[in-house]
Subunit: 306 residues, 2 copies
């Protein structure tokens, strides 16, 4: 049984893509495969599952030598199970920079594209003919991944092809994109059930900057005030989260999907300097608004400086 | 101007693929690109150029920061210019194992497929519609790369898709594959102009085994006796080549394309042990025949043991 999985903080693309590809491998290529998760899906990903009655993939913590694995939505060993280089990676499908740590014993299928979303790449790899055989929840997962990763085409990572594929899928599913995306963003924005530590880790990537290990966390929401009302508690939780995760600092960007801006929390002088050097921000107080900033991959990580 | 290049020992695929892709980028995608070579093309690759009146790509030795590069037919930093990680790699197209040393700053196009030949992957990426606009020398380069890497479909690396593409191209070009391949192999097998050191380096990859650095060299020929007549001189040249290249040992496999077997030269006890442990060979004397062995990638490298 081929194991298909994404990164350690399962968002919609990293939950939906394994489900799409496991369907394709099992049903079209007739090679039994199952989607797995390295952690609990985030609110939006959990909404995708319940909205379309998709069974939640099993959680797992590591792979073993001989396991056949397909890695999707990442190629970074830091975001993968500890024993990944002992397993047999048979395919990688991703839309992130090449991190450079995965090796394979033999040539395998690797498809990395500078598109907004892994599911868009899968759409192209599967092809129209086989996709026509997909049940509606597979097409819906694909659409939801694209709307999630592009923030309904607002993110600068959006390419015309992502948009084209999403609009085609919405039409086939008889969905209105604005109404469906609003439903999705509302689900994502209801974070009342989560502790501050959980919010800081919900959509987070590790990154090294000036010798410091950072957790670069993003919360995309249509209701930023709900999060910012908890600013003091979030800042108070940062040192504990950083320490537990072996990091030096946590950067939390609260992305306002509708206003297309991010608020960066500023707990200390280090983060203040980062905000100033990276985004030319003028910081006073414990947060700063960064107009137009929506994408960690395209706008935050490449800009980070100290 | 985008630079398109392959590995350090330009064989037919590593010479033809940059030419094909530079044509595609320049003429179809309208992004000016040129093919480059890291070294002199081997006999067969030189034959491809003269047979189809293709201008020999310029030689170069390193890349600079800011150079836009497309890497083809390798992804291994050891086979690439020293400053590759300072340049801007914008695309990788390859059919080898993931070596794990290349990193990119942003997401780029990476296409690795377990096919016999980089040119086959390019055929698929270009697509029928755009390929119809290719001049005959581009289609001929594609065909020649496939016949070279598959040893006219004899190598176990050959997939049905490589064969399908080659047969389609031959038909379009009005070529008989057996006649054309015979012409190509005859050109490749005429190695009279090369010194022993040149023969040992002509088609060679670095590989570590049991703490030793090996040069794993292959000479594919329809006239193995021409090479084996120089066996004593080749063995005598090995220590010098190894020393100059920072290696410990040279393994030379003389592949008989028509008989589908390799002769491994056995200069010393280390290579004797490698031959026995890797291929179960019974060695007496300074060479041993390995029946059925034709592919370094699929049969030699994965088997190497000591």
């Amino acid at each position: 049984m081929i194991k298909v999985f994404g990164h350690k903080a399962p968002d919609t693309d990293s939950t939906g893509s394994p489900i799409i590809w496991a369907w394709y491998l099992s049903e079209i290529r007739k090679t039994p495969a199952k989607a797995l998760l390295q952690g609990e899906p985030n609110t939006e990903a959990a909404w995708l599952l319940s909205r379309w009655n998709i069974e939640k993939p099993e959680l797992f913590s590591d792979v073993a030598a001989g396991d056949q694995c397909v890695i999707v939505d990442t190629n970074n060993p830091a975001e993968l199970p500890a024993s990944i280089n002992e397993a047999e990676v048979i395919e990688i499908i991703d839309h992130h920079l090449l991190a450079g740590g995965i090796k394979t014993r033999l040539p395998i299928n690797i498809t990395i594209r500078p598109l907004a979303c892994t599911a868009t790449i899968m759409h192209d790899l599967i092809g129209e003919e086989d996709l026509a055989r997909a049940p509606k929840e597979i097409k819906a997962a694909m659409l939801t991944c694209i709307l999630s990763d592009t923030l309904e085409f607002r993110s600068p990572t959006t390419t015309p092809h992502d948009r084209f594929v999403a609009e085609k899928l919405a039409k086939e599913l008889g969905l209105s994109i604005p109404a469906y995306a609003a439903e999705m963003f509302a689900a994502k924005s209801d974070v009342s059930a989560f502790s501050e530590a959980e919010l800081l880790r919900m959509d987070s990537k590790e990154y090294e900057l000036g010798g410091k290990q950072l957790r670069v966390s993003v919360l995309e929401t249509t209701s930023p005030q709900t999060v910012l009302d908890r600013k003091a508690a979030l800042i108070a939780a940062m040192p504990g989260v950083a320490k537990e995760d072996g990091a030096d600092e946590v950067l939390l960007f609260v992305v306002d999907i509708l206003r297309e801006e991010a608020t960066l929390l500023v707990p200390n002088d280090f983060v203040k300097t980062v905000a100033e050097k990276s985004f030319g921000a003028n910081v006073s107080g414990d947060s700063v608004i960064l107009p137009g900033i929506m994408s960690r991959k395209k706008q935050i990580i490449p800009a980070l400086a100290v």
